[in-house]
Subunit: 274 residues, 2 copies
Protein backbone atom coordinates (compact mmCIF):
# COMPACT_ATOMS: atom_id res chain seq x y z
CA UNK A 1 0.00 0.00 0.00
CA UNK A 2 2.97 2.35 -0.52
CA UNK A 3 1.36 3.98 -3.54
CA UNK A 4 -2.16 3.17 -4.57
CA UNK A 5 -3.01 6.52 -6.08
CA UNK A 6 -3.74 4.83 -9.39
CA UNK A 7 -6.15 2.35 -7.80
CA UNK A 8 -9.85 2.80 -8.68
CA UNK A 9 -12.59 4.34 -6.57
CA UNK A 10 -15.45 2.01 -5.65
CA UNK A 11 -18.90 3.54 -6.02
CA UNK A 12 -22.14 1.74 -5.24
CA UNK A 13 -25.86 2.28 -5.33
CA UNK A 14 -29.03 0.19 -5.23
CA UNK A 15 -29.24 0.48 -9.01
CA UNK A 16 -28.74 3.20 -11.57
CA UNK A 17 -29.30 6.33 -9.47
CA UNK A 18 -25.71 6.45 -8.24
CA UNK A 19 -24.59 7.13 -11.80
CA UNK A 20 -25.51 10.78 -11.20
CA UNK A 21 -22.68 10.72 -8.63
CA UNK A 22 -20.35 8.95 -11.07
CA UNK A 23 -21.11 11.66 -13.62
CA UNK A 24 -19.97 14.33 -11.15
CA UNK A 25 -16.84 12.35 -10.25
CA UNK A 26 -15.94 11.99 -13.93
CA UNK A 27 -16.43 15.71 -14.36
CA UNK A 28 -14.65 16.97 -11.24
CA UNK A 29 -11.78 14.45 -10.96
CA UNK A 30 -11.46 13.09 -14.51
CA UNK A 31 -8.18 11.25 -13.85
CA UNK A 32 -9.86 8.80 -11.48
CA UNK A 33 -10.98 5.30 -12.45
CA UNK A 34 -14.37 4.21 -11.13
CA UNK A 35 -15.57 0.70 -10.31
CA UNK A 36 -19.34 0.97 -10.07
CA UNK A 37 -21.66 -1.59 -8.53
CA UNK A 38 -25.46 -1.32 -8.97
CA UNK A 39 -27.51 -3.77 -6.88
CA UNK A 40 -30.11 -4.25 -9.61
CA UNK A 41 -31.14 -7.68 -8.29
CA UNK A 42 -32.37 -6.17 -5.03
CA UNK A 43 -33.26 -2.61 -6.04
CA UNK A 44 -34.93 -0.50 -4.63
CA UNK A 45 -33.44 0.16 -1.19
CA UNK A 46 -35.71 3.07 -0.27
CA UNK A 47 -38.61 1.02 1.07
CA UNK A 48 -36.56 -1.62 2.90
CA UNK A 49 -35.36 -1.84 6.51
CA UNK A 50 -32.11 -0.65 8.08
CA UNK A 51 -31.00 -4.23 8.84
CA UNK A 52 -31.51 -5.38 5.27
CA UNK A 53 -29.82 -2.33 3.73
CA UNK A 54 -26.85 -2.69 6.09
CA UNK A 55 -26.46 -6.38 5.21
CA UNK A 56 -26.62 -5.60 1.48
CA UNK A 57 -24.14 -2.72 1.80
CA UNK A 58 -21.62 -4.91 3.66
CA UNK A 59 -21.78 -7.52 0.90
CA UNK A 60 -21.14 -4.85 -1.71
CA UNK A 61 -18.20 -3.37 0.22
CA UNK A 62 -16.71 -6.89 0.44
CA UNK A 63 -17.08 -7.22 -3.34
CA UNK A 64 -15.52 -3.79 -3.99
CA UNK A 65 -12.55 -4.65 -1.75
CA UNK A 66 -11.80 -7.62 -4.03
CA UNK A 67 -11.33 -5.01 -6.78
CA UNK A 68 -8.60 -3.25 -4.75
CA UNK A 69 -10.34 0.10 -4.56
CA UNK A 70 -8.54 2.93 -2.74
CA UNK A 71 -11.75 4.56 -1.46
CA UNK A 72 -15.49 3.92 -1.46
CA UNK A 73 -18.41 6.22 -2.20
CA UNK A 74 -21.83 5.15 -0.97
CA UNK A 75 -23.72 6.78 -3.83
CA UNK A 76 -27.15 5.95 -2.44
CA UNK A 77 -28.92 8.15 0.06
CA UNK A 78 -30.74 5.28 1.76
CA UNK A 79 -27.55 3.22 2.21
CA UNK A 80 -25.67 6.34 3.37
CA UNK A 81 -28.41 7.13 5.88
CA UNK A 82 -28.75 3.59 7.24
CA UNK A 83 -25.38 1.88 6.81
CA UNK A 84 -22.50 4.37 6.52
CA UNK A 85 -21.71 4.54 10.24
CA UNK A 86 -21.43 0.77 10.51
CA UNK A 87 -19.46 0.45 7.28
CA UNK A 88 -16.99 3.12 8.44
CA UNK A 89 -16.20 1.15 11.59
CA UNK A 90 -15.18 -1.95 9.63
CA UNK A 91 -13.05 -0.43 6.93
CA UNK A 92 -9.47 0.94 6.73
CA UNK A 93 -9.80 2.97 3.52
CA UNK A 94 -11.61 6.30 3.11
CA UNK A 95 -15.37 5.94 2.72
CA UNK A 96 -17.96 8.67 2.24
CA UNK A 97 -21.69 8.81 1.67
CA UNK A 98 -23.87 11.38 -0.06
CA UNK A 99 -25.85 12.57 2.96
CA UNK A 100 -23.18 14.47 4.90
CA UNK A 101 -21.90 16.53 1.92
CA UNK A 102 -25.48 17.42 0.96
CA UNK A 103 -26.37 18.36 4.53
CA UNK A 104 -23.29 20.57 4.89
CA UNK A 105 -23.98 22.61 1.78
CA UNK A 106 -27.67 22.99 2.61
CA UNK A 107 -26.78 24.51 5.99
CA UNK A 108 -24.32 26.86 4.26
CA UNK A 109 -26.93 27.80 1.66
CA UNK A 110 -30.06 28.58 3.67
CA UNK A 111 -30.74 32.18 4.64
CA UNK A 112 -33.93 31.73 6.67
CA UNK A 113 -32.84 28.50 8.40
CA UNK A 114 -35.69 26.44 6.90
CA UNK A 115 -34.54 23.43 4.85
CA UNK A 116 -36.61 20.77 3.11
CA UNK A 117 -35.40 17.25 2.34
CA UNK A 118 -37.02 14.90 -0.15
CA UNK A 119 -36.01 11.25 -0.52
CA UNK A 120 -37.11 7.64 -0.15
CA UNK A 121 -39.15 6.45 2.82
CA UNK A 122 -35.97 4.99 4.33
CA UNK A 123 -33.89 8.15 3.98
CA UNK A 124 -36.62 10.37 5.40
CA UNK A 125 -37.62 8.12 8.29
CA UNK A 126 -33.95 7.67 9.28
CA UNK A 127 -33.76 11.45 9.85
CA UNK A 128 -30.04 11.28 9.04
CA UNK A 129 -30.09 14.56 7.09
CA UNK A 130 -31.77 16.23 10.05
CA UNK A 131 -29.22 14.83 12.49
CA UNK A 132 -26.23 16.03 10.45
CA UNK A 133 -27.71 19.48 9.90
CA UNK A 134 -28.63 19.93 13.58
CA UNK A 135 -25.05 19.03 14.49
CA UNK A 136 -23.85 21.88 12.28
CA UNK A 137 -26.52 24.31 13.45
CA UNK A 138 -29.05 23.27 16.10
CA UNK A 139 -31.36 26.15 15.16
CA UNK A 140 -32.00 24.78 11.64
CA UNK A 141 -35.62 23.84 10.99
CA UNK A 142 -35.76 20.70 8.81
CA UNK A 143 -38.83 19.32 7.05
CA UNK A 144 -38.61 15.90 5.40
CA UNK A 145 -40.95 14.37 2.84
CA UNK A 146 -40.80 10.87 1.39
CA UNK A 147 -41.60 10.79 -2.35
CA UNK A 148 -41.95 7.07 -3.25
CA UNK A 149 -43.34 7.70 -6.75
CA UNK A 150 -40.44 9.83 -8.01
CA UNK A 151 -38.09 6.91 -8.77
CA UNK A 152 -40.69 4.86 -10.70
CA UNK A 153 -41.73 7.97 -12.69
CA UNK A 154 -38.07 8.76 -13.49
CA UNK A 155 -37.32 5.16 -14.46
CA UNK A 156 -40.39 5.20 -16.74
CA UNK A 157 -38.83 8.20 -18.49
CA UNK A 158 -41.43 10.78 -17.42
CA UNK A 159 -38.81 13.41 -16.55
CA UNK A 160 -40.92 16.19 -18.09
CA UNK A 161 -44.57 15.21 -17.97
CA UNK A 162 -47.89 16.55 -16.62
CA UNK A 163 -48.24 13.44 -14.41
CA UNK A 164 -44.84 14.09 -12.83
CA UNK A 165 -45.79 17.76 -12.37
CA UNK A 166 -48.95 16.71 -10.54
CA UNK A 167 -47.12 14.24 -8.26
CA UNK A 168 -44.34 16.76 -7.52
CA UNK A 169 -47.00 19.32 -6.54
CA UNK A 170 -48.75 16.88 -4.21
CA UNK A 171 -45.57 15.82 -2.45
CA UNK A 172 -44.12 19.32 -2.14
CA UNK A 173 -47.13 21.51 -1.26
CA UNK A 174 -46.69 21.14 2.51
CA UNK A 175 -42.94 21.79 2.28
CA UNK A 176 -43.55 24.95 0.24
CA UNK A 177 -46.22 26.17 2.67
CA UNK A 178 -43.71 25.82 5.52
CA UNK A 179 -41.52 28.51 3.91
CA UNK A 180 -38.30 26.58 3.16
CA UNK A 181 -35.70 28.43 1.08
CA UNK A 182 -33.47 25.37 0.43
CA UNK A 183 -34.43 21.90 -0.77
CA UNK A 184 -32.12 18.87 -0.70
CA UNK A 185 -32.63 16.36 -3.53
CA UNK A 186 -32.01 13.48 -1.14
CA UNK A 187 -32.13 10.60 -3.64
CA UNK A 188 -29.64 10.09 -6.44
CA UNK A 189 -32.44 9.80 -9.01
CA UNK A 190 -33.92 13.20 -8.25
CA UNK A 191 -31.41 15.42 -10.12
CA UNK A 192 -32.95 13.90 -13.25
CA UNK A 193 -36.22 15.77 -12.53
CA UNK A 194 -34.43 18.82 -11.20
CA UNK A 195 -35.99 21.13 -13.79
CA UNK A 196 -39.53 20.02 -12.95
CA UNK A 197 -38.92 20.38 -9.21
CA UNK A 198 -37.35 23.84 -9.68
CA UNK A 199 -40.26 25.02 -11.81
CA UNK A 200 -42.79 23.90 -9.20
CA UNK A 201 -41.01 25.17 -6.08
CA UNK A 202 -40.12 28.43 -7.82
CA UNK A 203 -36.81 30.29 -8.27
CA UNK A 204 -36.68 31.51 -4.65
CA UNK A 205 -35.93 27.97 -3.41
CA UNK A 206 -32.32 26.75 -3.89
CA UNK A 207 -31.99 23.08 -4.82
CA UNK A 208 -29.05 21.19 -3.33
CA UNK A 209 -27.71 18.24 -5.32
CA UNK A 210 -25.70 15.95 -3.00
CA UNK A 211 -24.14 14.20 -6.04
CA UNK A 212 -22.25 17.38 -6.91
CA UNK A 213 -21.20 18.05 -3.31
CA UNK A 214 -20.11 14.43 -2.81
CA UNK A 215 -17.72 14.56 -5.78
CA UNK A 216 -16.23 17.79 -4.36
CA UNK A 217 -15.80 16.23 -0.93
CA UNK A 218 -14.33 13.05 -2.45
CA UNK A 219 -11.69 15.13 -4.22
CA UNK A 220 -10.75 16.85 -0.96
CA UNK A 221 -10.69 13.53 0.90
CA UNK A 222 -8.44 11.85 -1.66
CA UNK A 223 -6.17 14.86 -1.65
CA UNK A 224 -5.84 14.84 2.14
CA UNK A 225 -4.88 11.13 2.02
CA UNK A 226 -2.48 11.76 -0.86
CA UNK A 227 -4.57 9.42 -2.97
CA UNK A 228 -5.48 11.63 -5.94
CA UNK A 229 -4.49 10.03 -9.20
CA UNK A 230 -1.72 11.86 -11.01
CA UNK A 231 -2.10 9.94 -14.23
CA UNK A 232 -4.03 11.45 -17.07
CA UNK A 233 -6.69 8.97 -18.09
CA UNK A 234 -8.05 8.46 -21.58
CA UNK A 235 -11.37 10.04 -22.43
CA UNK A 236 -14.60 8.08 -22.23
CA UNK A 237 -16.06 5.58 -19.80
CA UNK A 238 -14.05 2.65 -21.11
CA UNK A 239 -11.51 3.05 -18.32
CA UNK A 240 -14.31 2.61 -15.79
CA UNK A 241 -15.92 -0.70 -14.90
CA UNK A 242 -19.57 -1.38 -14.25
CA UNK A 243 -20.98 -4.33 -12.30
CA UNK A 244 -24.57 -5.20 -11.48
CA UNK A 245 -26.20 -8.00 -9.46
CA UNK A 246 -28.84 -8.60 -12.12
CA UNK A 247 -27.76 -8.64 -15.74
CA UNK A 248 -30.62 -6.55 -16.99
CA UNK A 249 -29.95 -4.73 -20.23
CA UNK A 250 -32.04 -1.99 -18.75
CA UNK A 251 -29.09 -0.88 -16.63
CA UNK A 252 -27.00 -0.16 -19.66
CA UNK A 253 -29.79 1.64 -21.50
CA UNK A 254 -30.55 3.84 -18.51
CA UNK A 255 -26.86 4.38 -17.76
CA UNK A 256 -26.27 5.61 -21.26
CA UNK A 257 -29.04 8.18 -20.81
CA UNK A 258 -27.20 9.60 -17.78
CA UNK A 259 -23.50 9.36 -18.63
CA UNK A 260 -21.86 11.37 -21.37
CA UNK A 261 -19.90 8.45 -22.78
CA UNK A 262 -21.55 5.13 -23.51
CA UNK A 263 -20.90 2.19 -21.21
CA UNK A 264 -19.29 -0.54 -23.24
CA UNK A 265 -20.04 -3.50 -21.01
CA UNK A 266 -21.61 -4.38 -17.70
CA UNK A 267 -20.68 -7.53 -15.81
CA UNK A 268 -22.99 -9.50 -13.53
CA UNK A 269 -21.96 -10.48 -10.00
CA UNK A 270 -23.84 -12.85 -7.66
CA UNK A 271 -23.67 -10.45 -4.73
CA UNK A 272 -25.36 -12.81 -2.26
CA UNK A 273 -22.16 -14.87 -2.18
CA UNK A 274 -20.04 -11.99 -0.81
Amino acid sequence: MTDNRTAPIGVFDSGVGGLTVVKEIMHQIPNEKVIYFGDTARVPYGSKSKDTITRYSKQIVRFLRTQNVKAIVVACNTASAYALDELSKEIDIPIIGVVKPGAKVAVETTKNGKIGVIGTSGTISSETYTTYMKELNPAIDVRGKACPLFVPLIEEGLWEDPVTDEIVKRYLTDLMDSGIDTLILGCTHYPLIRKTVQRIVGPEVTLVNPAYETARELKALLSSHNLLSDQTSGLGTNIHQFYVSDAAERFQIFANSILKYGILSTKAVNIETY
Copy 2:
Protein backbone atom coordinates in the same frame (compact mmCIF):
# COMPACT_ATOMS: atom_id res chain seq x y z
CA MET B 1 -46.81 -38.92 3.82
CA THR B 2 -49.81 -41.25 4.39
CA ASP B 3 -52.14 -38.39 5.23
CA ASN B 4 -51.01 -34.82 4.91
CA ARG B 5 -54.38 -33.34 4.11
CA THR B 6 -54.13 -31.09 7.15
CA ALA B 7 -50.72 -29.75 6.10
CA PRO B 8 -50.60 -26.12 5.00
CA ILE B 9 -50.41 -24.72 1.48
CA GLY B 10 -47.30 -22.67 0.70
CA VAL B 11 -47.99 -19.45 -1.21
CA PHE B 12 -45.30 -17.02 -2.30
CA ASP B 13 -44.93 -13.70 -4.04
CA SER B 14 -42.31 -11.00 -4.45
CA GLY B 15 -44.10 -8.98 -1.77
CA VAL B 16 -47.68 -8.16 -0.89
CA GLY B 17 -49.40 -8.68 -4.26
CA GLY B 18 -49.86 -12.42 -3.75
CA LEU B 19 -52.20 -11.67 -0.88
CA THR B 20 -54.94 -11.15 -3.47
CA VAL B 21 -54.47 -14.85 -4.24
CA VAL B 22 -54.49 -15.73 -0.52
CA LYS B 23 -57.75 -13.82 -0.19
CA GLU B 24 -59.33 -15.98 -2.90
CA ILE B 25 -57.96 -19.18 -1.33
CA MET B 26 -59.40 -18.20 2.06
CA HIS B 27 -62.74 -17.54 0.39
CA GLN B 28 -62.95 -20.59 -1.86
CA ILE B 29 -61.30 -23.25 0.35
CA PRO B 30 -61.67 -21.85 3.86
CA ASN B 31 -60.54 -25.03 5.63
CA GLU B 32 -57.01 -24.70 4.26
CA LYS B 33 -54.10 -23.27 6.22
CA VAL B 34 -51.79 -20.96 4.30
CA ILE B 35 -48.08 -20.32 4.86
CA TYR B 36 -47.31 -17.13 2.96
CA PHE B 37 -43.89 -15.86 2.02
CA GLY B 38 -43.41 -12.33 0.64
CA ASP B 39 -39.90 -11.55 -0.64
CA THR B 40 -40.01 -7.97 0.61
CA ALA B 41 -36.19 -7.73 0.81
CA ARG B 42 -35.87 -8.22 -2.95
CA VAL B 43 -39.19 -6.92 -4.26
CA PRO B 44 -40.06 -6.13 -7.05
CA TYR B 45 -39.55 -9.08 -9.40
CA GLY B 46 -41.17 -7.52 -12.46
CA SER B 47 -38.13 -5.62 -13.72
CA LYS B 48 -35.52 -8.32 -13.00
CA SER B 49 -34.10 -11.12 -15.17
CA LYS B 50 -35.26 -14.72 -15.57
CA ASP B 51 -32.07 -16.08 -13.97
CA THR B 52 -32.42 -13.92 -10.89
CA ILE B 53 -36.15 -14.63 -10.45
CA THR B 54 -35.56 -18.37 -10.86
CA ARG B 55 -32.78 -18.33 -8.25
CA TYR B 56 -34.99 -16.39 -5.82
CA SER B 57 -37.97 -18.69 -6.41
CA LYS B 58 -35.88 -21.80 -5.73
CA GLN B 59 -34.70 -20.36 -2.42
CA ILE B 60 -38.28 -19.65 -1.42
CA VAL B 61 -39.47 -23.13 -2.39
CA ARG B 62 -36.65 -24.58 -0.23
CA PHE B 63 -37.86 -22.43 2.67
CA LEU B 64 -41.50 -23.45 2.19
CA ARG B 65 -40.52 -27.13 2.13
CA THR B 66 -39.06 -26.70 5.62
CA GLN B 67 -42.60 -25.78 6.69
CA ASN B 68 -43.93 -29.13 5.41
CA VAL B 69 -46.37 -27.67 2.92
CA LYS B 70 -48.52 -30.10 0.91
CA ALA B 71 -48.65 -27.91 -2.21
CA ILE B 72 -47.21 -24.65 -3.49
CA VAL B 73 -48.85 -21.72 -5.23
CA VAL B 74 -46.57 -19.32 -7.11
CA ALA B 75 -48.76 -16.27 -6.48
CA CYS B 76 -46.64 -13.95 -8.59
CA ASN B 77 -47.10 -13.58 -12.30
CA THR B 78 -43.43 -12.84 -13.00
CA ALA B 79 -42.20 -15.87 -11.01
CA SER B 80 -44.89 -18.05 -12.62
CA ALA B 81 -43.87 -16.85 -16.08
CA TYR B 82 -40.12 -17.23 -15.57
CA ALA B 83 -39.60 -19.99 -13.00
CA LEU B 84 -42.59 -22.35 -12.77
CA ASP B 85 -41.36 -24.83 -15.39
CA GLU B 86 -38.02 -25.24 -13.67
CA LEU B 87 -39.55 -25.40 -10.18
CA SER B 88 -42.00 -28.12 -11.34
CA LYS B 89 -39.13 -30.34 -12.48
CA GLU B 90 -37.49 -30.31 -9.07
CA ILE B 91 -40.45 -30.87 -6.80
CA ASP B 92 -42.58 -33.87 -5.79
CA ILE B 93 -45.64 -32.04 -4.45
CA PRO B 94 -48.30 -30.24 -6.51
CA ILE B 95 -47.25 -26.75 -7.61
CA ILE B 96 -49.24 -24.25 -9.65
CA GLY B 97 -48.71 -20.71 -10.84
CA VAL B 98 -51.16 -17.95 -11.65
CA VAL B 99 -50.47 -17.65 -15.37
CA LYS B 100 -51.96 -20.91 -16.67
CA PRO B 101 -55.31 -20.61 -14.83
CA GLY B 102 -55.66 -17.00 -16.02
CA ALA B 103 -54.77 -17.92 -19.60
CA LYS B 104 -57.29 -20.79 -19.65
CA VAL B 105 -60.22 -18.67 -18.51
CA ALA B 106 -59.33 -15.84 -20.89
CA VAL B 107 -59.45 -18.24 -23.85
CA GLU B 108 -62.83 -19.56 -22.62
CA THR B 109 -64.13 -16.01 -22.15
CA THR B 110 -63.23 -14.22 -25.40
CA LYS B 111 -65.82 -14.07 -28.15
CA ASN B 112 -63.81 -12.26 -30.83
CA GLY B 113 -60.51 -14.05 -30.14
CA LYS B 114 -58.67 -10.86 -29.20
CA ILE B 115 -57.16 -10.89 -25.72
CA GLY B 116 -55.07 -8.25 -23.95
CA VAL B 117 -52.59 -8.97 -21.15
CA ILE B 118 -51.19 -6.36 -18.78
CA GLY B 119 -48.39 -7.10 -16.32
CA THR B 120 -44.83 -6.33 -15.32
CA SER B 121 -42.03 -5.97 -17.89
CA GLY B 122 -40.87 -9.50 -17.02
CA THR B 123 -44.28 -11.13 -17.40
CA ILE B 124 -44.98 -9.41 -20.71
CA SER B 125 -41.55 -9.95 -22.27
CA SER B 126 -41.61 -13.65 -21.27
CA GLU B 127 -44.75 -14.05 -23.46
CA THR B 128 -45.81 -16.93 -21.19
CA TYR B 129 -49.49 -15.92 -21.28
CA THR B 130 -49.31 -15.86 -25.08
CA THR B 131 -47.65 -19.29 -25.22
CA TYR B 132 -50.28 -20.92 -22.97
CA MET B 133 -53.17 -19.31 -24.84
CA LYS B 134 -51.80 -20.28 -28.26
CA GLU B 135 -51.48 -23.88 -27.03
CA LEU B 136 -55.19 -23.84 -26.19
CA ASN B 137 -56.20 -22.06 -29.38
CA PRO B 138 -53.59 -21.12 -31.99
CA ALA B 139 -55.97 -18.62 -33.61
CA ILE B 140 -56.10 -16.39 -30.52
CA ASP B 141 -54.71 -12.90 -31.08
CA VAL B 142 -52.82 -11.75 -27.96
CA ARG B 143 -51.62 -8.21 -27.23
CA GLY B 144 -49.36 -7.65 -24.22
CA LYS B 145 -48.55 -4.37 -22.49
CA ALA B 146 -46.12 -3.82 -19.62
CA CYS B 147 -47.42 -1.32 -17.05
CA PRO B 148 -44.46 -0.60 -14.72
CA LEU B 149 -46.15 2.30 -12.91
CA PHE B 150 -49.24 0.39 -11.74
CA VAL B 151 -47.55 -1.33 -8.77
CA PRO B 152 -45.95 1.87 -7.38
CA LEU B 153 -49.26 3.76 -7.79
CA ILE B 154 -51.15 0.96 -6.02
CA GLU B 155 -48.59 0.74 -3.21
CA GLU B 156 -48.85 4.52 -2.77
CA GLY B 157 -52.59 4.01 -2.21
CA LEU B 158 -53.78 5.79 -5.38
CA TRP B 159 -56.36 3.09 -6.21
CA GLU B 160 -58.92 5.71 -7.27
CA ASP B 161 -57.16 8.84 -8.41
CA PRO B 162 -56.96 11.11 -11.48
CA VAL B 163 -53.23 10.33 -11.83
CA THR B 164 -53.95 6.59 -11.93
CA ASP B 165 -56.75 7.23 -14.45
CA GLU B 166 -54.29 9.09 -16.67
CA ILE B 167 -51.62 6.38 -16.47
CA VAL B 168 -54.18 3.61 -17.11
CA LYS B 169 -55.39 5.50 -20.21
CA ARG B 170 -51.84 5.88 -21.54
CA TYR B 171 -50.94 2.24 -21.06
CA LEU B 172 -54.23 0.83 -22.37
CA THR B 173 -55.05 3.06 -25.36
CA ASP B 174 -53.26 0.86 -27.89
CA LEU B 175 -54.81 -2.31 -26.45
CA MET B 176 -58.28 -0.76 -26.67
CA ASP B 177 -57.70 0.39 -30.23
CA SER B 178 -56.80 -3.16 -31.21
CA GLY B 179 -60.36 -4.30 -30.36
CA ILE B 180 -59.74 -6.77 -27.50
CA ASP B 181 -62.86 -8.03 -25.68
CA THR B 182 -60.97 -9.69 -22.79
CA LEU B 183 -58.19 -8.29 -20.60
CA ILE B 184 -56.06 -10.36 -18.22
CA LEU B 185 -54.93 -8.57 -15.06
CA GLY B 186 -51.54 -10.27 -15.24
CA CYS B 187 -50.05 -9.00 -11.98
CA THR B 188 -51.37 -9.82 -8.54
CA HIS B 189 -51.53 -6.15 -7.58
CA TYR B 190 -53.83 -5.19 -10.43
CA PRO B 191 -57.15 -6.47 -9.01
CA LEU B 192 -56.79 -3.61 -6.52
CA ILE B 193 -57.33 -1.08 -9.34
CA ARG B 194 -59.88 -3.28 -11.09
CA LYS B 195 -62.62 -0.64 -10.87
CA THR B 196 -60.45 2.05 -12.46
CA VAL B 197 -59.34 -0.29 -15.25
CA GLN B 198 -62.94 -1.41 -15.91
CA ARG B 199 -64.18 2.17 -16.07
CA ILE B 200 -61.49 3.11 -18.58
CA VAL B 201 -61.74 0.05 -20.85
CA GLY B 202 -65.55 0.14 -20.72
CA PRO B 203 -68.13 -2.54 -19.87
CA GLU B 204 -67.73 -4.40 -23.17
CA VAL B 205 -64.28 -5.68 -22.11
CA THR B 206 -64.27 -8.60 -19.65
CA LEU B 207 -61.51 -8.47 -17.04
CA VAL B 208 -59.93 -11.78 -16.04
CA ASN B 209 -58.49 -12.01 -12.51
CA PRO B 210 -55.98 -14.90 -12.36
CA ALA B 211 -56.09 -14.80 -8.53
CA TYR B 212 -59.69 -16.03 -8.60
CA GLU B 213 -59.00 -18.68 -11.24
CA THR B 214 -55.89 -19.90 -9.42
CA ALA B 215 -57.82 -20.55 -6.21
CA ARG B 216 -60.39 -22.53 -8.23
CA GLU B 217 -57.69 -24.57 -9.92
CA LEU B 218 -55.90 -25.14 -6.61
CA LYS B 219 -59.08 -26.58 -5.14
CA ALA B 220 -59.45 -28.98 -8.08
CA LEU B 221 -55.77 -29.94 -7.89
CA LEU B 222 -55.89 -30.68 -4.16
CA SER B 223 -59.07 -32.66 -4.65
CA SER B 224 -57.54 -34.78 -7.43
CA HIS B 225 -54.58 -35.58 -5.15
CA ASN B 226 -56.91 -36.29 -2.21
CA LEU B 227 -55.24 -33.45 -0.35
CA LEU B 228 -58.22 -31.21 0.47
CA SER B 229 -58.42 -30.50 4.18
CA ASP B 230 -61.45 -32.06 5.84
CA GLN B 231 -61.01 -30.20 9.08
CA THR B 232 -63.07 -27.11 9.74
CA SER B 233 -60.68 -24.32 10.59
CA GLY B 234 -61.35 -21.45 12.95
CA LEU B 235 -62.31 -18.13 11.45
CA GLY B 236 -59.75 -15.43 10.90
CA THR B 237 -56.21 -15.30 9.62
CA ASN B 238 -54.64 -16.43 12.88
CA ILE B 239 -54.44 -20.00 11.60
CA HIS B 240 -52.34 -18.77 8.69
CA GLN B 241 -48.70 -17.79 8.91
CA PHE B 242 -46.95 -14.92 7.21
CA TYR B 243 -43.24 -14.66 6.53
CA VAL B 244 -41.26 -11.91 4.82
CA SER B 245 -37.59 -11.48 3.93
CA ASP B 246 -37.54 -7.90 5.16
CA ALA B 247 -39.30 -7.11 8.42
CA ALA B 248 -40.94 -3.97 7.19
CA GLU B 249 -44.06 -2.98 9.10
CA ARG B 250 -45.33 -1.85 5.77
CA PHE B 251 -46.13 -5.44 4.84
CA GLN B 252 -48.53 -5.82 7.70
CA ILE B 253 -50.21 -2.47 7.06
CA PHE B 254 -50.70 -3.23 3.39
CA ALA B 255 -51.75 -6.83 4.11
CA ASN B 256 -54.44 -5.64 6.45
CA SER B 257 -55.84 -3.42 3.72
CA ILE B 258 -56.26 -6.48 1.47
CA LEU B 259 -57.29 -9.31 3.77
CA LYS B 260 -60.59 -9.42 5.62
CA TYR B 261 -59.07 -10.46 8.93
CA GLY B 262 -56.06 -8.69 10.37
CA ILE B 263 -52.68 -10.38 10.30
CA LEU B 264 -51.52 -10.83 13.86
CA SER B 265 -47.82 -11.26 13.23
CA THR B 266 -45.28 -11.49 10.46
CA LYS B 267 -41.95 -13.24 10.90
CA ALA B 268 -38.72 -12.33 9.13
CA VAL B 269 -36.63 -14.96 7.31
CA ASN B 270 -33.13 -14.46 5.87
CA ILE B 271 -34.05 -16.00 2.54
CA GLU B 272 -30.54 -15.73 1.07
CA THR B 273 -29.45 -18.58 3.34
CA TYR B 274 -31.91 -21.09 1.79
